[in-house]
Amino acid sequence: MNHPQDSSFLSKLRPPATGRLAVEIRQASVVYPTADAPVHALADIDLNIHEGEFVSLIGPSGCGKTTLMRVIADLEPISAGQVLVNGVSPHEARLARAYGYVFQAPALFPWRTVLANVTLPLQIQGRSKADSKVIAQEHLERVGLKGFENKYPWQLSGGMQQRVSIARALSFEPKILMMDEPFGALDEITRDRLNEQLQQLWQRERRTVVFVTHSIAEAVYLSTKIVVMSPRPGRIVKVIDSPLPNERHLGLRDTPEFVAVAHEVREALADGHHV
């Protein structure tokens, strides 16, 4: 199974970019047949994601950033090319429970308490009730929701619900955390706070994260690598390795270094648009 302790230990020793490959994408394309012309949702994507990296996929609507993430997560088949997750196909990786997926909406089950929502993946994996409870409580504590175990989702704010869904995705210690615009529906203040918490969470664990967003500030603040994408056909225009230090706080966003990276992302987005 997974060796979370081991992998986080290793990634602390090495700088993230030199770690083993978590995701390897070679010449991958996704084509949807339609009545008139086929739509190229993704065209010839090449991308390496190393273990312990925080990778953001950023781009305008229709650039295929969500599609790319869904391809990695085995929620979408590729039409051509090759995708490897931890050295195996996305399908095998999914069956091996390699990743936790956080969707745009919290997708909590209204009939389950917060705790029972977090234990859901553990229950599916056949873990014992007592174990699951201890693990879930620990993960709820990590996202700052200690004391909310017996509440129902509707008794929580949107930001808290999304934190529960993050705790749920992390409960079974997946090697990769996938987040599809997880804070897109939240207000900016809540979003800032959650970004900070997510950053701290990543600092502690150095788990591989793939993060889809269309906020430049969010991408620059969180990522060690920013993948800028462009639509029609969906493709990667630029991959930016962030020069920012790994230890980050919200104040970083006012530094010249941060502004420079954000500028680079903005330029790449504009370039992609003019092609």
């Binding site: 997560a73 085995d74 929620l75 999914r94 069956l95 429970r97 990743y99 936790g100 997926y101 969707f103 745009q104 909406a105 997708a107 089950f109 209204p110 009939w111 389950r112 308490t113 859901l120 993946p121 229950q123 599916i124 994996q125 129902y152 989702p153 509707w154 079974f172």
Partner: protein, 301 residues
């Protein structure tokens, strides 16, 4: 919350709910008496009132309200007959309505149980197989276009030839009416989870059974219970209809039939009132279970 105002508020709430119902009930009773007088008057003039001497309208009114075999019995006649059947006869006597209630309720509940099970199984099959969805659903819909009155004798004959009599054929006919609402609602309910929830289960590599048990079934409960309320009422209709062609001697349907054979309209009406009460009790029982289950299931139902 203010504890003093709570009981008063409760009473007011009940009053708000009960008052309109009571007004309508009063209206119906008045209408009933008027109709009874109007419908029974020709018979009363012909059979009850003296033919050789003149009679007053008070005599006519009194006669229409207390006839032996009225066209439309008055509410108090029905109430008297209803009450006397309950208290004047032992519970195992065919003259006691509760005896018939027990017989009809038994086949209704069996039919309801079997129909619900059949409905659940069919819905699970339909949701999980595109082929079965296309193959079964048209037949399930078509089955309900055949009138139950036409089906009932056939079922009785066939099951009878196989050696099944008594409760079994009646339960099967009740089931025939029960399973349909359950199937339709459960297909909808099992399909109610959103794409995002289904995909989430997919990312956990959950099996089909796990997805059914942990997501689809709990999500379908709010769809199931309204269907069960409809189903049990339909099952009661099925059970009563099934009693007609058997020439059954027991059951509310049989009671209606013997009443009409002998022109005993009061008996028909009290059996009718009893079956309405039975239907109400069964529906309330299902609603009670619904409340219990949905509150245990947690969340905002």
């Amino acid at each position: 919350m203010d504890t003093m105002s709570k009981p008063a508020g409760f009473v007011r709430k009940i009053g708000h709910k009960a008052l309109p119902v009571l007004v309508i009930l009063l209206f119906i009773l008045v209408l009933w008496y008027v109709a009874a007088v109007a419908m029974n008057a020709p018979g009363a003039i012909e059979r009850v009132l003296p033919t050789d001497t003149p009679w007053t309208w008070q005599q006519l009114l009194a006669a229409t309200m207390d006839m032996q075999r009225p066209v439309l019995p008055t509410p108090h006649q029905v109430a008297r007959d209803f009450w006397s059947s309950l208290v004047d006869w032992p519970i195992d006597s065919p003259r006691n309505l509760l005896f018939h209630v027990a017989v009809t309720a038994e086949s209704t509940l069996w039919g309801f149980l079997l129909g619900t099970l059949l409905g659940l199984v069919l819905a699970v099959l339909i949701v999980h197989s595109r082929t079965l969805d296309r193959a079964l659903l048209p037949w399930i819909v078509a089955s309900q276009t055949v009138p139950v009155l036409a089906i009932a004798p056939i079922v009785l004959v066939i099951l009878g030839s196989l050696g099944f009599s008594g409760v079994a054929p009646k339960a099967v006919i009740a089931m025939y009416l029960c399973f349909f609402p359950v199937t339709v609602a459960m297909v909808q309910g099992l399909r109610s989870p959103q794409k995002i929830e289904t995909e989430m289960m997919h990312t956990y590599a959950a099996s089909k059974w796990q997805a059914l048990w942990l997501l689809r079934l709990p999500a379908s409960l709010p769809f199931l219970f309204p269907a069960l309320r409809v189903g049990i009422a339909a099952g009661l209709v099925g059970a009563m209809v099934a009693e007609l062609p058997t020439g059954a001697v027991a059951g509310l349907g049989a009671r209606l039939l013997t009443g009409s054979y002998y022109g005993n309209t009061v008996q028909i009406w009290s059996a009718l009132v009893m079956s309405a009460l039975l239907g109400l009790a069964l529906t309330l029982a299902v609603a009670g279970v619904e409340k219990l289950v949905l509150s245990r299931r947690g969340g905002q139902a």
